[in-house]
Amino acid sequence: MIRIAEVYKYRGHECVINGVNLVIPQGTQVGLIGPGGAGKSLLMKICAGLVRPDSGSVLIDGTEVVGIGDVEMTSVRSKIGMLFQNYALFDFMTVEENIGFPLRQLGGRTEEEIRDEVNRLLLAVDLPNTQKLFPNELSGGMKKRVTFARAVIANPPILFYDDPTAGLDPVTSGKIFALLEERRARGGTTSIVVSHDILGMRDICDSFVLMDHGRIVFSGTREQIEASTRPFVGQFWRGEADD
């Protein structure tokens, strides 16, 4: 379970996260949507402990992550898998080394076991025989699938997806969303998906949170959003230009 309470973050004198409160129950997948610059990715990075908020608290499975040291953070981070917007694949490692990196860092597994696990995952994301390639030899869609594999390899109970389909064509986006849906269907993972692709997100999230200018302006299930009478919510959901 993730509990975010009264989180504020300033950039200079500008408030980029403005008093966010949010509870994400165990085992649910939440879609974080909103216009560009609304603070979605930043909120996600605050949850992952990568960005320190100016005030507020973030509890991950009961552990406070705001203001704790790197040593305590270690145990929290090993519960989290993250898919980054800009792929964030290590360009000096092969695909195989990239995907196996989280397991190698956790320790306690032989190289043999890690290799088997990597090969199994590469088949699952439909990238056989790419083990020895480097990230710059892959297409955008392939890189996203490698990042996905790296995020999930350690079976973390919490998953953060930061814009998993940014810059991908509709067919490839569909494949990525299918992978996310498959993960969710297994049950047990709590996850946040940041995306602009509302069409693709509709069917794979249990509930949605709409952000604008650093605030949460709406949160609820798909039915509640569709029933909302607030113009901003309706416009954003249906992708209409505001007038």
């Binding site: 790197d70 981070r77 956790l106």
Partner: protein, 274 residues
């Protein structure tokens, strides 16, 4: 300045505004120095902590040494020729005797030119290299990915570069010394007809010269990678951020080398040579 800051500054009295303007100059400098010290102390903390990625240290040593060897040799080679050319003509005019030139030149190479000019060149070559490498890892979120997998970026990225740089700066300084002395000897021999055996004269060398040479090489070898790593880790934004980081690295590192040179030369003068 953001809109709010502008409004805030506009509301101040002229005297207050002048004081506030001092902050515009000094706050970024102080912030940067504290950040460099933070990266430096963390790097030292992790340098004495296991695990150290020795394979990576070797690889970085190869990169630093291999990528800069030709560069350092060319620059120091030309420097050696320039120095003997200039001082030769002056010495001929003022003293009229060129027999002692080699000994003095060798002493000066040890104390000043070999370690410092090598370090200035490494600040440009290695400094920009490290800042560009780490900077592009930051803007493509690779550093965040490291942190998410509990690999501390300073331990993972900075420590191998620091250890490699300490060793390679010393090695390259030695190479630089030989090259500069060799080309200087060549000019002395061809232009001023000083005998090679006369030019090669170690009578003025003292232990102090060797100590200062080593101290300078060590100090530069530590400072350059730390300053460059800090510039890289502080990068933000896209390709523009990487550009800013590399510029910052070369300026800060060259300035640091000059300041250290001043301090260590002063120390050397007071302890050994006065």
């Amino acid at each position: 300045m953001t809109k709010h800051t502008q409004a805030y500054v506009a509301a101040l009295s002229p005297t207050q505004r002048r004081i506030a303007q001092l902050g515009v100059v000094f706050v970024p400098i102080v912030t940067q120095i504290t950040d460099i010290l933070r990266v430096g102390s963390l790097a030292f903390y992790y340098a004495f902590k296991k695990p150290i990625r020795w394979r990576e240290v070797l690889q970085q040593s190869f990169f630093i040494g291999n990528r800069s060897l030709a560069f350092v040799m060319i620059v120091l080679g030309f420097l050696g020729m320039i120095l003997i050319f200039q001082s030769g003509f002056q010495a001929k005019r003022i003293v009229g005797d060129l027999q002692g030139m080699g000994a003095l030149y060798l002493q000066l190479l040890f104390r000043e030119f070999a370690p410092t000019v090598t370090a200035l060149m490494l600040a440009t070559r290695v400094g920009t290299g490290i800042a560009a490498e780490i900077g592009s890892m930051v803007v493509t979120e690779q550093v965040d990915a490291l942190r998410m997998n509990n690999a501390e970026p300073i331990q993972y990225l900075v420590v191998p570069r620091l250890l490699a740089s300490i060793v390679m700066t010393f090695v390259l300084s030695c190479v630089a010394l030989c090259v500069a002395f060799g080309t200087g000897m060549f000019v002395a021999n061809t232009v001023f007809e000083v005998n090679v055996a006369t030019f090669y004269n170690t009578s003025l060398l003292e232990w102090g010269d060797l100590i200062i040479f080593s101290l300078k090489a060590l100090a530069y070898g530590i400072t350059i990678p730390i300053i460059a790593s800090q510039a890289g880790l502080a990068a933000f934004g896209g390709s523009e951020g990487v550009g800013t980081a590399t510029t910052m690295a070369v300026v800060n590192a060259s300035l640091a080398v000059t300041i250290l040179d001043f301090v260590l030369s002063g120390v050397g003068y007071i302890f050994f040579f006065s």
